[in-house]
């Protein structure tokens, strides 16, 4: 806590354009601390509300893919995987967005978004399972929540710290948790989207952890454990250009991830005969309109 306050004061002192105002800096430091406190004890309901608001924001930027069969199919794969995760009872929602951008996103509380651009470049259901299980692992490990906490004390402090703090206070105001949580989540989601939070890569260690846990989840669900490896092989063939929303900008390079998985996969090698389900995948994805 003291370090955060000190860092905030340092930030205020170092700001070239700002006239040093000790009182104001102290106030900002307190607000950042309040914001962190607000995230620290996030309840599951609040986490779900935040995830839903972020997903609504995402869907405001990119429409759902119009094919209902495709949406239901991805939800069945995702739900089956989620039942084998550490948080099977979350209200898991898997949304296919209609964009050529290649990426998938995990929101707090069990919301996962996958682009049709990524989906149509996969070869089998086990590859889809590998991708979805990676995102499920992020939710299970609350990586996004941790990243928001880090943002509150990091370089976003100046830009969103005051908003986070305000939201955190609003969340507690009045004692009406349900309505307070929704208002708080809505404000928080808007701030995070505006600040490009989901364009920022997560910590590499979180990505590697999600890769490994994702492989375990997919394997538990009966899929070939090499599905994610196949998806990464596919990604390894593409250069990440200037698309800041693509997987190439928000994830470590695919060859690096493959290198980490090579150390891990021998532990589940004996399950490599499990189904890949190419036919079912191609039938649904190929017929999507």
């Amino acid at each position: 806590m003291k370090r955060i306050l000190f860092a905030t004061l340092l930030f205020a002192c170092a700001s070239a354009n700002a006239q040093f105002d000790f009182g104001r800096a102290l106030d900002l430091g307190k607000k950042v601390m309040q914001a962190q406190e607000g995230m620290k004890d996030l309840t599951q309901d609040e986490e779900i509300a935040l995830g839903e608001q972020l997903t609504a924001g995402f869907l405001g930027a990119s429409p759902l893919h119009p094919d209902a069969n495709l949406q239901r199919y991805v939800n069945r794969v995702g739900k089956w995987l989620a039942l084998h995760s550490g948080r099977p009872d979350l209200p898991w929602t898997f949304a296919v967005i209609d964009t050529e951008t290649i990426n998938a996103f995990a929101m707090p509380g069990g919301n996962v978004i996958i682009s049709s651009g990524l989906l149509k470049r996969l070869s089998s259901e086990s590859e889809l399972a590998g991708v979805l299980a990676h995102e499920i692992a992020h939710v299970v490990k609350k990586h996004q929540v941790q990243a928001i906490q880090s943002a509150a004390k990091g370089d976003l402090a100046a830009s969103i710290g005051k908003d986070l703090a305000g939201d955190a206070i609003a969340r507690r105001g009045g004692g009406a948790l349900a309505q307070g949580a929704k208002t708080w989540a809505s404000g928080m989601a808007a701030d995070l989207l505006k600040d490009g939070f989901f364009l920022r890569p997560l910590d590499r260690s979180m990505e590697y952890e999600a890769d490994q846990l994702g492989v375990v989840i997919a394997t538990r669900a009966g899929y070939d454990p090499y599905g994610l490896v196949g998806a990464l092989e596919m990604l390894a063939q593409y250069k990440g250009g200037g698309d800041a929303a693509s997987v190439f900008s928000t994830h470590p390079p695919a060859p690096d991830r493959l290198g980490e998985l090579e150390k891990f996969l021998p532990t589940v090698e004996r399950y490599s005969g499990q189904p890949q389900l190419e036919g079912r995948f191609k039938q649904v994805v190929g017929n999507a309109k």
Binding site: K79, T93, A190
Partner: protein
């Protein structure tokens, strides 16, 4: 479904499966490795491949990738390959299997829609930053959720069976 419809559907699926899934991709071995006759460490070694040997990928399949190397078909460990990164060509495809089937239908050496390059027609940072929440789309997405029973039936159809794997098997807690 009429017989004609069934034939057309079968023809479409056949074309779809044949066109892109087996498209050959260029790759290189990233270390000295062996070309096996089957996808298994116990398979017969058809050839020893030094590092940086060019191969054509015929199919991705689990731990082993089917390739053609020096005119021979066989299997190489999936981790023993590297892929030269490429940028897809920017063009709207005239392929009738474009759109959601473009990747499978187009093959890797044919024009495809732009991805992951500057100026993509996809999700831009500005799109995300300036988005207005769409609660109706969220509700629609939630309407596609699967319940436990539906997911279990779906898994059974695919012959997916739960296995017990502890996360600690990967050396993690």
């Amino acid at each position: 479904m009429s017989r004609m419809t069934l034939r057309l559907a079968t023809l479409f699926l056949g074309l779809f499966l044949a066109s892109g899934a087996w498209a050959q991709e260029q790759a290189f071995t990233n270390r000295s490795t062996e070309l096996k006759d089957i996808g298994s460490p116990s398979g017969k070694t058809l050839a020893s491949l030094p590092g940086d040997t060019p191969v054509k990928v015929i199919a991705r399949s689990g731990a082993w990738t089917k390739v053609e190397a020096n005119g021979q078909h066989g299997y190489v460990n999936v981790f023993h390959l590297r892929f030269p990164a490429t940028v897809e060509k920017s063009s709207s495809s005239s392929n009738p299997l474009s759109g959601i089937t473009g990747f499978f239908g187009g093959g890797r050496d044919q024009p495809k829609t732009t991805i992951a390059t500057t100026g993509i027609r996809g999700l831009s940072p500005e799109d995300l930053k300036n988005a207005s929440p769409d609660p109706a789309a969220l509700a629609k997405a939630q309407g596609y959720r699967s319940d436990k029973g539906s997911a279990e039936r779906f898994a059974k159809d695919g012959k997916l069976a739960t296995v017990s794997v502890d996360y600690s098997e990967g050396g993690r807690r």
